[in-house]
Subunit: 570 residues, 2 copies
């Protein structure tokens, strides 16, 4: 017998109970930040001595502007139906009168603007306490900024490219803008009569300024693969570029020397500079630049999660697959390894603290985390490679990485959440010989049924990713390959998940039952796609760690031949 449940739970609790902090704004020495503390997500204001809790159980927040923050609460137990609030730094709270919907994202400056989705996806702007629907948007649209009478954002198109949009409140008019059809344009930030944004219309991602009236474009900055944060503070341009999952921060184009890892954002407060920082081994923290370098204002410092490194592997067609590996201190090389498949698919495993990766490494398993095609952070061309091909080329990338890392691992187990859960099910169904086992959290089991249960945003997501092709949806659904699964499979999913709903997962499980497959299923109570509390995070990850302990790390003797009760018997 390997590690007992209590020891695995301790490993997990050590990882997930570490406080984490995200700065939302800094002004006159007062920090407004989002915290993960005592197993809950809260919002605080702190002037260096007194700390005020502004809200608890917060799902998403805007940045703080003039001492105010907007945030959402999920009021339907994981279903991601949100109520919207505004709170000032003293804790005075105002609930926005808004309809029952999923808040897709929100932005606060002169007003609060948000994108909400239910049967349609729409832009809402507050008028006093009331949220008013101002225009319909395509699914997967983001609001970027609201200044004066202008609301700016990004609107996706069916081919995966994205326009900027500018909505003029007074006139009720929406303008769409793209520098070139098919390009991707994000993160609009409104200045007086101008907008800053990021675009790949000239190839690599660069930062541009657009004159809203003349539509004249001016290149402001270039040099990184992508940009993850863009702001103007005290008249200075702040940008964070990303390359190979690590950040490079700039103030007015001058690099800020930050530790190796991910800089989420940068805030200038008079002569002080703050960043939110994280790495594979550093839970999200707030750092301040002092004469001696970066000092941790809020955060727990480094954790020994193992040896982190970054590699590129050539895939079947010559495309590079950027991959992070974390070699566990509790194992040998080669040793059993988890192939961790990130969600999204438009996401990435960057040099950021990750509960899955940290706890898996700390329980004694290596982690190999390929950024398969479709991942963000390596250029829009790379991200868009999975449009029309999910569970295709991306899955072959993963298989290639497994093969090319064979010197590192003995057995491999696929583990992932959301799209990563989908990839896990597809991996077990389509490459059943490669794996020792698989653990899928909140997976897509059937694109067709998922689409039929989805709101406008996720219907749009499925249609975009699979080009609205029902035959392709069927061909790329794990439920079509359930009979081919050969190794033990663990599935964990929330009963109220409104992104990857439980119904198709239950049908998939019926297939596992009928096929006599070895599996475990954990449907979690009152939980949705996103676990909100330590309790919920534990219920998602602990069964997976127990499963990995039993099936990958310390499989019971004789399990290979399926006859455990015979072993050691004669």
């Amino acid at each position: 017998m390997g590690l007992r449940a209590s020891k695995l739970a301790e490993v997990l609790e050590r990882v997930i109970s570490l406080p984490q902090y995200t700065l939302l704004g800094a002004k006159g020495g007062r920090l407004i930040y989002y915290a993960w503390e005592k197993g809950e997500r809260s919002l605080f204001s702190w002037d260096g001595s007194e700390r005020v809790m502004l809200a608890s159980n917060v799902v998403e927040t805007s940045l703080a502007v003039n001492g105010r923050v907007a945030y959402t609460l999920d009021v339907e137990r994981g279903r991601e139906i949100h109520r919207v609030f505004l709170v000032d730094e003293k804790g005075n709270t105002l609930e926005v009168d808004s309809p029952r919907l999923r808040v897709w994202n929100l932005s606060l400056r002169d007003r609060l603007a948000f994108v909400g989705t239910s049967d349609t996806t729409d832009l809402y702007v507050t008028d006093g306490q009331k949220a008013v629907k101002v225009t319909r948007l395509t699914p997967l649209s983001w609001v970027g900024d609201v200044r004066g009478d202008v609301v700016a954002g990004t609107e996706f198109k069916g081919d995966g490219s994205s326009n900027l949009f500018f909505h003029y409140l007074g006139e009720g008019r929406t303008e769409r803008f793209t520098p070139r059809e098919g390009s991707n344009n994000y993160g609009s930030l409104l200045l007086e009569g101008r907008a800053l944004f990021m675009s790949d219309f000239e190839g690599a991602s660069k930062i541009y300024e657009l004159d809203l009236r003349s539509k004249e474009l001016r290149k402001v900055m270039e040099g990184d693969v992508s940009y993850s944060f863009l702001d103007v503070q005290d008249g200075k341009l702040i940008a964070v570029g990303v390359r190979d999952g690590r950040s490079r921060a700039y103030v007015e184009g001058r690099p800020l020397r930050t530790p190796e890892g991910t800089v989420t954002n940068v805030f200038l407060d008079g002569r002080d500079t703050y960043i939110t920082f994280t790495s594979m081994s550093t839970p999200r923290s707030i750092l301040k630049l002092s004469n001696d370098g970066w000092e941790t204002v809020l955060g727990v410092g480094k954790l020994d999660v193992g040896e982190v490194s970054f590699h590129r592997f050539k895939s079947f067609d010559g495309v590079d697959v950027p991959t992070y590996t974390v070699m566990s201190k509790g194992s040998t090389v080669p040793g059993p390894a988890v192939v961790y498949l990130h969600g999204g698919p438009w996401g990435e495993v960057a040099d950021e603290f990750d509960w899955f990766i940290a706890s898996i490494s700390m329980m004694g398993l290596h982690v190999i985390a390929p950024n398969f095609r479709g991942s963000t952070g390596y250029g829009e061309w790379f991200r868009k490679l999975d449009i029309g091909d999910p569970g295709g080329g991306d899955l072959r990338d993963v298989v290639e990485v497994v093969k090319q890392t064979s010197s590192l691992h003995t057995d491999v187990c696929a583990v992932g959440y959301s799209y990563g859960g989908y990839m896990t099910l597809m991996a077990l169904g389509r490459f059943p010989e490669l794996w020792k086992c698989g653990a899928a959290g909140a997976p897509v089991a059937d694109w067709v049924e998922m689409r039929s249960l989805a709101d406008d945003a996720f219907r749009g997501f499925v249609d975009l990713l699979l080009k609205g092709d029902v035959n392709l949806m069927r061909e790329r659904s794990p439920i079509s390959y359930v009979k081919d699964v050969k190794v033990p499979l663990c599935i964990v999913t929330g009963q109220n998940d409104s992104r990857t709903p439980v119904q198709p997962v239950l049908r998939y499980v019926q297939g596992l039952v009928e096929g006599g497959k070895t599996f475990e299923l954990h449907v979690l109570p009152g939980a949705g796609h996103l676990p909100y509390t330590e309790q919920e995070v534990t219920k998602v990850i602990l069964p997976m760690l127990l499963f990995l302990e039993d099936n990958l790390k310390s499989p019971p003797p004789g399990q290979e031949d399926g006859s455990r009760h015979q072993s050691g018997q004669h």
Copy 2:
């Protein structure tokens, strides 16, 4: 937040890792025993110095006769398809050549005899290494003894009464015997030309001797409510009587003064007397009578599980409901309580060590364990009260006990396994206002579908309990009341359970999903109705303890009104 998962797992592991021992035979100072050690069930032979492991992963064993034991292994990962072995005290093992079936029970003396069930239920006897089918029996038949050419046992009838049967191997003839139609007759032990057995044909259960030829009956012993063990050793009659869940052991009718609790069996070895003993606070142990009283030969002694007491409550119709309560040391009175519903239904909560009860009490919850009508240990008339009425009078007994113990508890949660899981689902569906929550392990969700998936034994069980009445099966199935469930529900079940199969549970869960109920589901991999290893026991009980912690002991603030995210917000 209450106890973290790691602490709950520690409580559970402390309880389930305690070694337990059952003596199977003692001769010349050599003990043959069945052990729960290091989280596995094994068979050992021990002469006081050297210990030989005879077998591991053992499911069931016979008593040891002349230094030999028969045992079974489950070779289909929880499906209870068994292989049968004979092993001597040196560890020499012989596999019996037997068909693919569930071994219902087995008995060893001059030969090995067993009852096996698949499409039919049959008596098998070994001829050399081979198991030979000798006659068909009704479902739910037990073999009691095999001596010379005679095999004796008990055969159930459709009304719940039971005959003795005597099969004469030479002649291929089977005789049925009952002292009175409708009476219950058990535990036949063969002597030369005679059989000892227990019967209730004169009212209370007594021990009789039957002359096999003349059918003359002689009363041998009386005075207890029921008898749980009967043997003749060195020519002396050994019997263990039971009253109110506690044992009274006799040698030749003279009481053996044993500790308060349960005596599983008694073995005389020359001048030494051994018993297998357990109580609510004593894991199963092997004790030896010395001049100073009973000394523990194998076992861990007492555990502080809380304050155990026994009560009787009057049910709706005047029937007494014998009930054990365990008041947790970690709680107040009144405090949150688990109403623990035993399996069977022909079983009982006696003064015996129980993993569920001990771990629930030690996590800080009181336990109230009613022996509802249908329980064993209180006379056959009481046991048979649930025939034709499962989930009826027995459930009303439980409701009465909850009401009459209101001074002990604040909130109550129903918890049970197997038939106890069934009772839990019925309790939540039919008395939804009474409960704070419910946790059902391996429950019957639908008698009709369970019957359609069952082998002859469990088909016979369903037909007996529900009188073969499909309408009654529907009316008494939890799936008919899924829409009425109002409180959080946790279900844990094994994917390979061949008694209460997973398919109807999944249909029940579909109903929970459609009804928007708060639930969690854990389907366990490669596991059947009976968890065999500490790993499997952990996977059954730990999710239940986590669920009880969240929903009964430390419910999140504001849970009562279903709006946890609002609480503490304004």
